[in-house]
Amino acid sequence: MASDYNDILHALCMHLRKFCDPDVEITPQTDLINQLAIDSVKLLNLIMELEDEFDISVPLNALADVQTVHELANLIHQIKSPK
């Protein structure tokens, strides 16, 4: 399970790279809004890419509790995990 999470985190960071300033360091604690400035159109594109890559559907109610890279990776991990 842990490696799954790490894979997801790694892939997520690769996607985030495309949306933000190359100088910004991305860690699990990085704040998506404040530090990466993920605005709404970037968010749309990001979700589309993540859904395609992980073959999931991200429910937007869950995004209400997502602020950091870790929280987003964790959300994807949860959606992917068999219930």
Binding site: L32, N34, S40, M48, L60, A64, D65
Partner: protein
């Protein structure tokens, strides 16, 4: 073309928020286990004679529609049909749910708040309320990153403003709803549609509704502090629906609708849920969230089911233009689309031109563009342009517009101009006039406040006489808050007054942003001004100017980023924060801050030119 589309991309920098997207898994418990191939959408051609909104009430309209074959169809993110709700099934399910609602011990006229995801359950509950003599109102779904707390606060505000006695949300949102309901003394029941379904039937007689009864409340602002519920009676609703389906759309038996508009917006609810039903027309729905992520799905739905009527805010059209790949156009046939309604925010001609250019090769006919104007306070629609004629626009001299508030048609090439889209004529039974600051009616081509009077006007804001009095003027003229002019009987909207900022079609009240800032310990009341600036690419940015006494750079930075974050979480938009020394913000003689003057000052400090400052002073 590519460059113009790219520049439009900037205008989309704030989009998701406004799309306030419902969830993908618009589930239907009854069908989820079956494969999508076992269900077929309701047909376009109905078996019954078409009646165009000649009913007294919503339930009377549904009683008639239920004897035909049309209905609502819900599609998932991949374009698969997930559930079908014929008007017949809707009537049946709504009547059963009405009996369950009746068992909650509510009194006729009590309000029921429903979080409006794009699902059959929402529609059933909405109509169940009407059958039970209750007043439903739709609440939004959450979208923004990290918006949990703000969303709960927003729900709480709406529950209080509407004084709801019961509140319903599906499993995805009921947690937020329960949090919002905590401590409420008014709410008697909170739960999911499934939980309501577990309750026993009251088995009481359901008396029919009267045209003078309140049909529903429509909340107009997504704001956290002071949401306002527009009161719409059955009579006003049916009057507007009649105007829309007969006069605006000229609905005929071959029509079919396709929509991604949220059910908690007036254009989605009145325009794409109720209007099709009162004309016994079928609708295909895509959840807003799914449209936002893959706009192509909406167009595919139109193509596949040969839809003829589909509405969008201009920004939705921009999303399509921007995000649909050229390679996707090959198997897309939009030639059936005869009424491409555009409304709910200012329409820029270039948005329509770019869309037509992009989708012309896919069979989209520009004559389908149907600009219209309306607002929740007038149920939905006020004016419609002529269906089938495409859009018309007027180029006026930009200088005269700003300096003299006059729209002078462009005489010579090379002059700077502003171009406005013709929104058409008022629906029958409605009058539009443009007045100056003292309330005097202005002649053609003079820019002023747009007022509306007519049979679709709201009764007022629920439990809010103060705002009602401000908005409904003597003679029952509704002050729309929009600026515009009339030319040859047609309305042209030129902007919003400065008390409302429109970002991608979402109305954000400047006051709400200011109050958010004033809640910060470093910020004093009445030392904040919020307004919108629109650049040449039509991108609106919210600007927050704050008189600030902080000297440390760290403290100032902390305030700035906190405010940006709060505004983002509350409204889903980015904002620009400017900290200025005390006494910088201009005040009126009565000591009131003037947003208009604050905006002028900001533009001067930042050397911005104002392409569209037809906006007049504050109210």
């Amino acid at each position: 073309m590519t460059s113009s589309i790219n520049s439009e991309g900037k205008t989309l920098s704030l989009t998701v928020a406004k799309l306030n997207a419902p969830l993908t898994q618009a589930f239907d418990g009854r069908l989820s286990s079956e494969s999508a191939t076992t269900i077929t959408p309701t047909p376009t051609y109905n078996t019954q004679a078409q009646r165009l909104a000649d009913f007294e009430t919503l339930t009377a309209a549904l009683e008639y529609a239920a004897s035909g074959t049309a209905g609502y169809n819900f599609y998932d993110a991949r374009g698969n049909l997930r559930s079908v709700l014929s008007y017949q099934a809707l009537r049946q399910n709504a009547c059963i749910s009405a009996q369950r609602l009746a068992g909650l011990g509510l009194v006729r006229g009590d309000r029921v708040a429903i979080i409006a995801d794009t699902t059959p359950e929402f529609v059933e509950l909405f109509f169940a309320c009407r059958y039970a003599g209750l007043i439903p109102y739709a609440m939004p779904v959450p979208v923004n990153l990290g918006s949990h707390a703000v969303y709960v606060q927003q729900l709480r505000g709406m529950l209080e403003a509407g004084q709801a006695s019961a509140a319903v949300a599906n499993l995805d949102y009921v947690g937020f709803l329960r949090e919002a309901a905590e401590g409420s003394r008014k709410l008697r029941w909170v739960g999911t549609p499934e939980q309501l379904g577990d309750r026993s039937l009251a088995d009481v007689a359901l008396p029919s509704n009267h045209p003078d009864e309140i049909a529903y409340l429509q909340f107009t602002s997504g704001s956290t502090r002071t949401p306002r519920g527009v009161i719409i009676t059955e009579r006003a609703l049916m009057s507007n629906l009649q105007g829309i389906v007969r006069h605006g759309l000229e609905i005929n038996p071959s029509d079919r609708c396709a929509s991604w508009l949220p059910f908690y917006h007036d254009m989605g609810l009145v325009g794409m849920v109720m209007a099709p039903m009162v004309a016994q027309v079928s609708v295909d729905y895509l959840a807003t969230r799914d449209f936002a992520i893959r706009p192509l799905q909406w167009l595919r739905l139109i193509a596949r089911n040969r839809a003829t009527v589909a509405f969008s805010q201009p920004f939705g059209l921009k999303l399509c233009t921007l995000r649909v790949r050229d390679s996707d156009l090959e198997d897309l046939d939009l030639s059936s689309w005869r009424a491409a309604g555009v409304g709910a925010e200012m329409i820029r001609p270039d948005t329509l031109r770019n869309f037509a250019e992009k989708f012309g090769p896919a069979g989209f006919n520009a004559s389908a563009f149907l600009p219209c104007y309306g607002l929740a306070e007038s149920t939905l629609a006020v004016t419609f342009s002529q269906v089938g004629q495409g859009f018309q626009s007027l180029r006026v001299d930009a200088g005269t517009l700003v300096d003299r508030k006059m729209a002078i048609r462009l005489q010579a090439e090379g002059r700077k101009y502003s171009e406005f889209v013709n929104c058409g004529r008022p629906l029958p039974g409605h009058t539009v006039k443009v007045v100056d600051d003292s309330g005097l009616e202005l002649p053609d081509l003079r820019v002023g406040s747009v007022l509306v009077r007519g049979s679709s006007i709201m009764t007022g804001y629920f439990n809010n006489p103060e705002d009602t009095q401000k908005t409904l003027q003597p003679g029952n003229w509704l002050d729309t808050g929009d600026l515009g002019f009339v030319f040859e009987g047609n309305l042209y909207v030129s902007g919003r007054r400065t008390d409302v900022i429109i970002v991608n079609g979402r109305n954000i009240r400047a006051q709400d942003i200011e109050e958010l800032a004033e809640q910060q310990p470093e910020v004093r009341t009445r030392e904040v001004s919020a307004f919108g600036i629109t650049d040449a690419n039509d991108a609106t940015t919210i600007v927050l100017v704050i008189e600030c006494r902080l000297t440390s750079i760290t403290d100032r930075q902390s305030l700035t980023s906190r405010l940006q974050r709060l505004v983002y979480m509350a409204f889903g938009v980015n904002c620009l924060v400017e900290l200025v020394p005390p006494h910088t913000l201009p005040r009126t003689s009565s000591g009131k801050l003037s947003r208009f003057a604050a905006r002028q000052g900001f533009m001067q400090r930042t050397n911005l030119t104002d392409p569209l400052s037809a906006e007049s002073g504050d109210k």
